[in-house]
């Protein structure tokens, strides 16, 4: 069988080794401590899984960003979903990652898995099948970034086109570029560069980042990066080169998947159903124009309106550093709960719940210097 990793040498030790030497050379020249944020949760996992963090010189630190959808979903969202289940008002359909996220009372949706009111689905397409089998109202928990939103939007486009009206979408959709802007605006973050998310960029293309990174005087280098070892090392290398040359450009190191103009068809589907709106992020707070909400004309499928979810808030468990971790201000091991009271089986904060969360990745694959 065709094995892409072998065929394209994407985990080739000698290529990685050559990039490692170049990274060391440039990092040594720069001299000072450099913080590069991998924005995307999938990057966090890949970096840890391939042991990329163990290959970097001491003065280059990779920090995890807000790109894990579960981690940035506000507590109120979980609470609202729990209320629906407890009051038997709807059947919740969700991706598995959301099950273990504790609401403000510490309770999570996983407690209700047995009674048919909470169902895990693997693809949004299952919604179309299940809505014909379930007689109660159905609420799909739509979370995520530009990567997952188009598929969900296309399913709900079909929902709108049929006359079964038992299916609702509860959105907590986020868009990446506004978050980058907020992270850059906070001087205490001291981010020197971004590894920009490969999958999100497949949809967005290069342009949306330029406004923030190239045209602003606060801009830093941003390199669109793939997910295999060679991709990630290349992304780090190009970021460092820009830092060395005092540049802040958007570069595409993942051209085999990302076209400069992105995927306009996918953006069109999102645009059909959703419009840009202010959005509450866990860790980052309420950010203007950072989310996507259902357009007024399709409010009949909007769970927020139908079930009157008016209040939005975040509730951080005592001592949990998730919010600071999402902003790159702390690393998971700074947290007093990490690896002690907060474990993958019994998570306290969302960063330990999601497999893409920084805490889960650190716990599973090891901290910076083993």
């Amino acid at each position: 069988m065709f094995n892409i990793l072998k065929e394209y040498k994407l985990e080739d030790k000698s290529t990685v080794g050559n990039l490692q030497k170049e990274i060391e050379r440039i990092a040594h020249k720069i001299g000072r401590e450099i913080k590069i944020m991998e924005v995307c949760g999938t990057h966090t996992v890949s970096i840890r899984k391939f042991g990329i963090h163990s290959l970097l010189p001491k003065n280059v630190r990779l920090i995890s960003g807000p790109g894990c959808p579960v981690c940035v979903t506000p507590t109120s969202y979980i609470d609202h979903a729990l209320q629906l289940v407890k009051n038997k008002r709807a059947v919740i359909l969700t991706f598995g990652d959301m099950l273990k996220v504790p609401g403000s009372s510490g309770e999570s949706l996983s407690a209700y898995m047995g009674n048919e009111l909470v169902r895990v689905i693997y693809s949004p397409l299952e919604i179309l099948k299940l809505r014909r089998e379930i007689s109660q109202p159905i609420v799909f928990l739509g979370i995520g970034f530009e990567t997952t939103i188009p598929t969900i939007a296309s399913v709900f486009k079909q929902v709108i086109e049929t006359d079964i009206n038992n299916t609702f979408l509860y959105t907590s959709f986020k868009t990446v570029p506004p978050a980058l802007e907020v992270l850059l605006a906070d001087p205490s973050n001291q981010i020197d560069g971004f590894l920009l998310p490969g999958h999100v960029s497949v949809i967005l293309g290069e342009e949306p980042y330029r406004e923030i990174l190239e045209k602003s005087n606060k801009g830093v280098p941003g390199v669109i990066t793939g997910f295999e070892p060679v991709d990630i090392m290349l992304g780090i290398y190009l970021t460092l080169k820009q830092i060395q040359n005092n540049e802040h450009r958007v570069e595409n190191a993942y051209p085999r998947a990302v076209k400069p103009s992105g995927n306009s068809k996918a953006r069109k589907i999102m645009d059909f159903l959703l419009k840009s709106a202010d959005e509450l992020w866990r860790g980052l707070g309420n950010l203007p124009k950072s989310g996507l909400k259902i357009r007024e004309e399709y409010k009949s499928i909007d769970a927020t309106i139908h079930f009157e979810f008016t209040d939005e808030y975040n509730h951080e468990p005592k001592g949990c550093l998730c919010a600071a971790v999402i902003q790159g201000k702390n690393i998971p091991t700074d947290c007093p709960h990490f690896g002690k009271s907060c474990l993958p089986e019994t998570p306290i904060g969302p960063c330990m719940v999601s497999s893409e969360g920084a805490c889960a990745a650190y716990y599973r694959y090891g901290v910076d210097r083993l």
Binding site: V16, F50, S54, V230, R364
Partner: protein, 340 residues
């Protein structure tokens, strides 16, 4: 009247129970020891000098009961025999308890019984006692089997993590991952993986070869649920040594690697039914072990994959293909329920 499906009355202890045993089970499994409908079997087992026996039990719930390369019957015999084998014992006798779900077709049951019979003959063991119960439809997954096994300890140096020391070598006996993928493909009708066969096999002949290494063989464990990852972590857990593994040395087929990549599974966590981990001291003995294994079809891809070290006490470290280093943790969550 010929029976086609299992009924609740087959587990009643009455006439139908007897009919099931006499007409379906005995014709396939009857042997000299398993000959009477008595409550217990008396074993004639003479020993001249002091011998040790090993005793183990395991329950099989695999879903579906038949999968590419095997079925629950073969698994129930080999699985329990393998637990004895990796404990240094030669399997001799097995008991077998079956829980059948009402409605199970007799044809399916017969096919499983035949594969039990075939596996027992191959392994040279005898099933000397058994029991069958029936549960109502919807309350069981077609068929569950428990087997307990007795074996005679033939390796006298002891197989125990307490004998492992830094400097020892870690060996994997054959290519990993095929049982988990085969069961998953049967369950989810994954067409991409349909040609993958489970590696379910009788491992005693392979273990027996390693027994000739005498005291240099420190530890054996078949890498079933939780895969290689679980076995290695069990070895280091609570001990003051570490295991360092080279990802590129791990025997794995391109097919399994590709499928696991696509499905997002870590092949080191996937269940095997024909692969074990061995810990052997001294480099020349480790090499000898690999050669002994490679001599047998079930060990043709055996390899030394790592070392026991003092560097990271209590941890398993993976040197990745790309040259990085990371922790290889215990498998988390329920990746594939009812895999064996």
């Amino acid at each position: 009247m010929k029976i086609k499906n299992i009924k609740l009355e087959h587990g009643s202890g009455g006439a139908l129970s007897r009919q099931l045993t006499e007409e379906i089970i005995y014709p396939i499994l009857k042997n000299d020891s398993y000959r009477e409908l008595s409550d217990a079997t008396i074993i004639d087992y003479f020993v001249k000098s002091k011998k040790q026996l090993a005793f183990t039990t395991d329950t099989y719930t695999v879903d579906p009961p038949a999968f590419p390369g095997g079925d629950i019957g073969k698994l129930a015999i080999y699985g329990t025999c393998n637990d004895l084998a990796v404990s240094g014992a030669k399997p001799l006798f097995l008991s077998m308890g079956m829980v059948l779900e009402e409605g199970l077709s007799i044809e399916k049951l017969q096919s499983i019984l035949l594969s039990i019979q075939e596996a027992s003959t191959h392994a040279g063991i005898r099933i000397i006692t058994g029991d069958t119960k029936v549960v109502p439809k919807g309350k069981g997954g077609e068929i569950y089997i428990n087997t307990s096994g007795i074996g005679e300890v033939v390796f006298s140096h002891g197989i125990s993590p307490s004998r492992i020391k830094p400097g020892d070598y870690i060996i994997i006996s054959n290519s990993i991952g095929s049982h988990g993928i085969a069961v998953l493909s049967a369950r989810e009708s994954l067409s991409i993986s349909s040609k993958i066969q489970s590696d379910v096999a009788f491992l005693y002949p392979l273990c027996e070869k390693l027994f000739t290494l005498q005291e240099n063989l420190k530890f054996l464990r078949d890498a079933t649920r939780g895969g290689i990852s679980a076995v290695l972590n069990e070895i280091v857990s609570g001990n003051n040594f570490s295991i360092e593994i080279d990802e590129e040395e791990i025997p794995i087929s391109d097919d399994i690697l590709s499928i696991s990549n696509i499905l997002g599974l870590n092949p080191l966590e996937i269940a095997n039914e024909g692969v074990f981990v061995a810990v052997v001291s001294k480099e020349n003995k480790a090499k000898e072990a690999v050669n002994l294994l490679k001599d047998h079809p079930l060990g043709k891809n055996a390899a030394i994959v790592g070392r026991v070290t003092e560097n990271y006490p209590g941890k398993v470290i993976l040197n990745t293909n790309s040259g990085g280093k990371r922790i290889l943790d215990f498998p988390r969550g329920l990746l594939l329920p009812r895999i064996c």
